[in-house]
Amino acid sequence: MRANPETRHWTLTPERTLWITGCLALVVAPHAARIPAWVLVSFAVLAGWRVANAIRGVPLPSKWLVIVLSATMLTAVYASYGTLFGRNAGVALLAVLAGMKLMESRRLRDAYVLSALGYFLVITNFLYSQSILTGVTMLAVVLIMTATLIAFSTQSGELAPRARLRMAAGMLIQATPIMLVLFFLFPRLPGPLWGLPRDAHSAVSGLSESMSPGRISRLSLSDAVAFRVTFQSKAPSPSQLYWRGPVLWHTDGREWRGGQPARSWRAQYAELHGEPVDYTVTIEPHQQFWLFALDVPTTIPLGAQMTQDFQLRTPKPVRARRRYEMRSYTQARLSRASLEEQAAALALPPGMHPKARALAAEWREQLQDDDLIVARALEYFGRQPFVYTLTPPLLKNDPVDEFLFDTRSGFCESYASSFAVLMRAAGIPARIVTGYQGGELNPLGDYLIVRQRDAHAWTEVWLDDRGWVRVDPTGAVSPDRIQLGMDAAIPPVMGPAGLDLPSAGPLWETWRRWRHGIDAVKSGWNEWVLGYGPRRQHELLALFGMDAGDLRGLSLSLLAVVGGMLGILALWLARRQQAPADPIARIYRRFCAKLGRAGVTRRASEGPLDFAARVVATRPQLREPVESITGMYVALRYAGGNLPMGRLKRAVRAFRPR
């Protein structure tokens, strides 16, 4: 390969080195908590070494040492992760590579390899977080990296760092329309192109398909959004907002698990009563196989299935934010249960909960009617000193008996599971439904936010004349939880930045309003940035009468739009005249303008002296002022003369060509 004469003398000067090293440090820093400490330390040492080399001239390691170090570190990354691919290993690998590349970078090519590594590291940050904050931070980093590219392609000292940043900002602003067009029109493909590395999605806290003491109460500490709901029809009252999730049938005495009773994949049956509720759910990815819907759902989103116990299941985990439209009836009756189902809904682990069984047998002896037994059980919860709390005492051996007769304080999961056990013991089929209850209406966006802290568990019992009936024992203990929502029953644990604000005070209200504002922005961000996928693109293109499936037409219009935008930008750039920065040039232009008004216009190709000669030839009477002004101008401008500028200014002001 022959050296390019135009870049032969390019070197990574100390200034350029500091810029690119700074950029790399800025993109590695957010990964600090995610990569092993040794990777972070190695990168810091290598970057520091290069900075010391740039500032103090500390020698860089020899080529052989670089090779040996690189091989060692690659091996170490492999040893840490068992692979070099995937999200976490990839980040560690990139950080190590960037550090090693810094050790041997001297030429233009090396500098651009470093830049590419930097941009890659920016994108790896998005694999962990796509919040607005991450977006804004990384935008700032990209700005600095772009300014570094400018430093690479100008001579040192040509542009001050601030001017470079300003210029980079201008270019990014000019690039934004193209970015937006590409973002919205570039054909979006559903699903991954190839298998995702196993660590692509880290564990997200949310409901699971099993319930044991403490599972749901742990969720209640999280303010994370589970899903957002926009109602097309009138929103039901808060006490009707039961968001149905996994239904749990099986218990071992401690834990409840999902799973259908045998032969239960048959048609669902519900009697619909009352007004339908139409709404759209935007669900956050939760890595599980189900969707949530208002109890009782009657429509099935695309690609989902409905089980006979009215769960919406998906064949693949929900890995991306997703929107689906639903219709539900809050007054519906689920009125069919096979014998297998009834049997499954009566099963109790042998030998467990003797006290609860005894109590249920006592009720059964006294009361014949199932309805009355249910009422009796709810009354029991209401009358005995039960406490609704997030931090119940530990239940050791038999969580149901200990809860019902000793501790009597617990969270919804304890109430639901012990109620279900009591019902089954009394011969009434019962199952547990998990999901969310309530939600917070955001007045700014006119939508409902359902958070993890709204997670809830309730029961359904089988009554022969009415079918499956929802019974929420938590409501018997803490009616506020159901009527007014989680915040009323148990105040949120934390205010902003962990401050413990009094939950009713004005400060709390302010914080609440703030939170609503922030969530409205987040919701827009989710909907238009993060949630923009093949489906939304299809809808958007349909608005313009375009078919998202027509790849050829889409690509052509994409090219046309981007080309048109570049054309407009080119025209704008060609026309844009910056205000003259140089006062001498400004004065001279005023002089030319005066002559222009008098009929002698300076040609674009004419230098000041040629122009003066032509003026004098045309208007001999102007010889004296024109020659003196031109002389002063040339002396000031080209000869670097130290004439006072005021003289030129006065002369031009006095100049009256006629």
Binding site: I123, Q174, A175, I178, G191, L193, Q578
Partner: protein
């Protein structure tokens, strides 16, 4: 039309013609300038630009695979910025004017210094420019002279491009390329300027043969002997027009101003440097020997003439005479070569 009286021009019945367009090719001599217009500017991605495109493609693939919205945003932002940078690269060159001065003659083997004047009349600063003398010999490309420079708003930059003049005669080094990799180094915009750059190259002054006998003045040669031409008599300050050879450079180096040696006439006579007087060697060697003699004779302030086949320069002395002789040597064309 601009020569119309002002009263007339404002009521001219038809529009005055636009200013004349600068011709694309500019003849030798101090030129008016070559204007870099948009459509004469070419642009292609650099090697770094190709690498960058590959990197962005990989990033986009990653964004598609992970369904990562901000990944899309970043990839498309970089695509947009690259496209925008293309426009800025072209704009960084457009509107510049390039003129050139004919360089001073040099001896073969010396550096010819071609001088460009790059004029930025706009109010925009230009960054990261380079001028390159494209010598056109592909194996020598990497030795093409290149000068990096920038231009402040409304300013002129004098750019000197040195090139080795290896052979006597007119040396035309090829064309000039003005290029830039600004702003991101992903694209290189350039314009070739076909200006008639040329430099006169004298033969290389070599050869060890003794010059022909010095003939006293009574040999009957014409010409008047200039006063103060032959013998060193003292120093005076430099004045415009003085020969650089008479400058007392050692004194200049000692920072004692620019003294010039003054000679007073004593010796007189004429040397005629003849082609036939050089023994042996090919044409170039003979010319080199003659060149040596011319320089020596001039240095000794002798009166000398030059006689080549088909060329006869009568005896004389001084700068103009020396130049005339050297030009004759530089441009001598051997009958047998043709």
């Amino acid at each position: 039309m601009d020569t119309l009286p002002s009263g007339l021009s404002s009521v001219a019945p038809f529009p005055l013609p636009e200013s004349p367009r600068a011709p694309p090719t500019v003849a030798g001599g101090a030129s008016a300038g070559f204007l870099l217009r948009f459509r004469r500017i070419y642009i292609l991605p650099t090697r770094q630009g190709m690498g960058f495109a590959a990197a962005v493609s990989v990033m986009l693939l990653g964004a598609i695979n992970y369904g990562n919205a901000l990944g899309y945003v970043l990839s498309f932002m970089l695509v947009g910025a690259s496209l925008v940078s293309m426009l800025h690269a072209v704009r960084n060159l457009a509107g510049l004017r390039v003129a050139h001065d004919d360089p001073a003659p040099v001896f073969a083997g010396d550096m010819a210094r071609f001088v460009l004047r790059v004029d930025n009349r706009g109010q925009r600063q230009r960054f990261g420019l380079l001028a390159r003398l494209a010598t056109g010999q592909s194996r020598d490309r990497e030795h093409d002279p290149v000068v990096h420079f920038g231009l402040a708003a409304d300013s002129v930059e004098r750019v000197e491009l040195p090139a080795i003049a290896s052979r006597r005669g007119w040396y035309s080094p090829g064309h000039v390329v003005i290029a830039t990799r600004f702003p991101f180094g992903l694209f290189r915009a350039w314009s070739r300027i076909h200006m008639r750059l040329r430099c006169l190259v004298y033969p290389r002054p070599t050869g060890e043969q003794a010059p022909p006998e010095y003939q006293p003045e009574d040999a009957g040669e014409q010409g008047t002997r200039g006063k103060g031409e032959e013998e060193f008599s003292g120093l005076r300050d430099y004045q415009q027009g003085d020969s650089a050879r008479r400058v007392h450079w050692k004194a200049v180096a000692r920072d004692q101003g620019v003294p010039v040696k003054v000679f007073s006439g004593a010796a007189s006579g004429v040397t005629v440097l003849r082609w036939q007087d050089v023994t042996g060697g090919n044409t170039e060697a003979r010319l080199s020997q003659l060149c040596r003699w011319v320089l020596d004779s001039h240095a000794q302030s002798l009166r000398y003439g030059l006689c080549l086949p088909g060329v006869d320069i009568p005896a004389g002395s001084g700068e103009a005479h020396r130049r005339r002789c050297l030009e004759a040597l530089a441009l001598y064309e051997d009958a047998s070569d043709r």
